[in-house]
């Protein structure tokens, strides 16, 4: 049986990765599972300077999901490269650095720093965090700005470039096309949906940031639909599917919709070993359906 997949020249031993922002810098989970088992680790979104993130409270659990407004708190690229990357590199897995900037220049500079560091296998361009200030969301929701940032970053790196798309747009296919035309090798979708919750007793928002990003099983049907639409429009573009995957069955759904790989996010919080269970369950599914190669079912939904 073959679980190995290829994305933009990267070979992953299996299609299961971790979603940025839910797996720290990877090392935090070494006590819970063998990191060598993972297809890839996508680290917490990095910026050229350390970032404090948003004030608390930052978390609110909703029906079948959770809202977060962390605000891209991170240690900065320099500290990541010096303190975390050498330790991560000891594991036999693909290391993908998610990163962001507050301006196009910062995106370009970040891409350069991560490329020069050596040891990062690919970049995931984060243009889709819903917890940044209002103007920032243009990177992921305005096609002209998206084309500009992807194009500039493309010129700044030789690494495979994955663009993580925002679902908070009218036409996901248009945004996917723009990203690919500007130089994206692959696409990750979806990031969290912008959401809000209110404490009716105090009449205050549950999050200090007022709005946050909704993740978890609640968003899975939206993610599957968007992934399927993008796969149908851009069948040759490698897609990494994410949004509420809790089990192997959820992962298979994404793969049938057109995902070549999947990322586990909120499920890591619920169960630190969720990724391993998804990998095991995918194997069981292939055995049960007598499928030799995981690649044979990518986009295999019958409709």
């Amino acid at each position: 049986m073959n679980l190995e997949i290829s994305i933009a020249g990267l070979r992953l031993k299996n299609p299961v990765m971790t979603a940025s922002g839910t797996f720290g810098y990877g090392l935090e989970y070494a006590d819970f599972l063998d990191l060598n088992s993972l297809g890839g680790i996508v680290v917490k979104g990095l910026s050229i300077k350390p970032s404090m993130g948003n004030p608390p409270p930052r978390i609110w659990e909703t029906s079948c999901g959770m809202l977060n407004s962390i605000g891209l708190q991170n240690i900065g690229i320099a500290a990541f490269v010096q303190d975390k990357l050498p330790l991560l590199r000891q594991y036999d897995t693909t290391i993908i650095a998610n990163f962001f900037g507050n301006t196009i220049d910062e995106f370009v500079q970040g891409a350069g720093m991560l490329t020069e560091a050596g040891g990062v296998d690919a970049l995931e361009l984060n243009v889709s965090c819903p917890n940044k200030e209002a103007g920032w969301s243009a990177f992921g929701t305005d096609p002209v700005v998206l084309a500009e940032v992807v194009g500039q970053v493309r010129k700044a790196t030789t690494l495979p470039l994955i663009v993580k798309l925002s679902p908070n747009v009218t036409d996901i296919v248009e945004m996917a096309r723009v990203a690919v035309d500007a130089g994206a090798d692959a696409l990750s979708l979806i990031n969290t949906l912008s959401g809000m919750a209110i404490d009716i007793e105090s009449k205050r928002p549950r999050l200090a940031n007022i709005v946050g990003g909704l993740s978890g099983p609640a968003i899975k049907p939206v993610a599957i639909r968007m992934l399927w639409q993008v796969h149908r429009a851009l069948p040759s573009t490698p897609l990494i599917g994410m949004g509420g995957i809790m089990t192997a069955d959820d992962a298979i759904e994404f793969i049938l919709a057109g995902a070549r790989a999947v990322a586990i996010g909120t499920a890591n919080f619920v169960n630190p070993q969720a990724t391993l269970q998804v990998i095991g369950g995918i194997e069981q599914y292939l055995i049960r359906h007598q499928i030799e190669d995981i690649n044979d079912i990518v986009g295999g939904v019958l409709c």
Binding site: S63, M246, V270
Partner: protein
């Protein structure tokens, strides 16, 4: 009281440490996320948790029948620092905060306890280890002394002879934590001078968290060193390090 028997080998907790507790594998997980609970005791291979029914998960936990399987991660967090010889320990609990300090009562039987509740119905004393001196207060006077527990604490400290340094270890609602910070925090140095008595205070802080293992970054608390995580850097903090909302305004 929730009593759990670990199904695999696990280190025993220190006073102030906590566990993430959620529904077991194979169940329909709703709510999804585990919640943090302070361990209040361990003995004979069992872990003891005091659960106050507040929301969906605590409701489910309270309906667990013997033999139910739950998922636990822990012990987590830093716990309370050890009390040095020559120091007098004063333990302060507000409401369900008693769960976070309960192990201190066992570890330091010579300590003094201040335990404040809203009314007699909120009081939990059945399985608490007894300590040398206990002061129970209630807002409505239905049990113990009437009034705010911190007012009684203030009077106690003011009347204490200054021969021994005092450590105050506390856990309670946000408002109590903030008031303790105002009472005992000093701008520089490690101790505050209250009528000649040296007092160093630590509080166990509660904040919403998704993971408990420093990856969701949800449980931040404002400190003099910037945001720190309750799950990893706490839950116990020196009051000197915490920046309360009142200080910011």
């Amino acid at each position: 009281m929730l009593v759990l028997s670990p199904m695999s080998e696990t280190p025993w907790p220190h006073a102030g440490q906590f566990y993430m507790i959620g529904q077991g594998v194979g169940t329909l997980r709703e709510p999804l996320l585990k919640r943090p609970f302070s361990c209040m005791d361990y003995r004979d291979g069992l872990l003891y948790f005091m659960i106050k029914i507040r929301g969906r998960l605590t409701g489910i936990l309270s309906n667990c029948t013997p033999g139910a399987v739950l998922e636990l991660i822990g012990p987590l967090g830093s716990g309370f620092p050890a009390v040095e010889p020559g120091e007098r320990l004063v333990i302060v609990a507000g409401g369900i905060g008693i769960a976070s300090v309960a192990m201190l009562l066992r570890d330091y039987p010579e300590a003094t306890l201040f335990y404040g509740v809203r009314s007699a119905n909120d009081l939990f004393v059945d399985q608490l280890p007894s300590v040398a001196r206990s002061y129970i207060t209630s807002d409505d006077g239905s049990v113990g002394l009437m009034g705010n527990v911190l007012e009684h604490l203030r009077q106690y400290i003011a009347s204490t002879a200054g021969d021994m340094a005092i450590k105050v270890y506390a856990c309670g609602p946000h408002a109590m934590t903030e008031q303790l910070c105002r009472m005992f925090a000093v701008k520089a140095g490690n101790s505050s001078e209250t009528s000649g008595v040296t007092v160093e205070a630590f509080v166990s802080v509660e904040e919403r968290m998704a993971c408990g293992i420093a990856t969701c970054l949800g449980c931040t608390v404002s400190t003099v060193d910037g945001y720190r995580l309750v799950c990893k850097d706490g839950p116990v903090f020196n009051v000197n390090d915490i920046i309360t909302a009142a200080h910011e305004s």
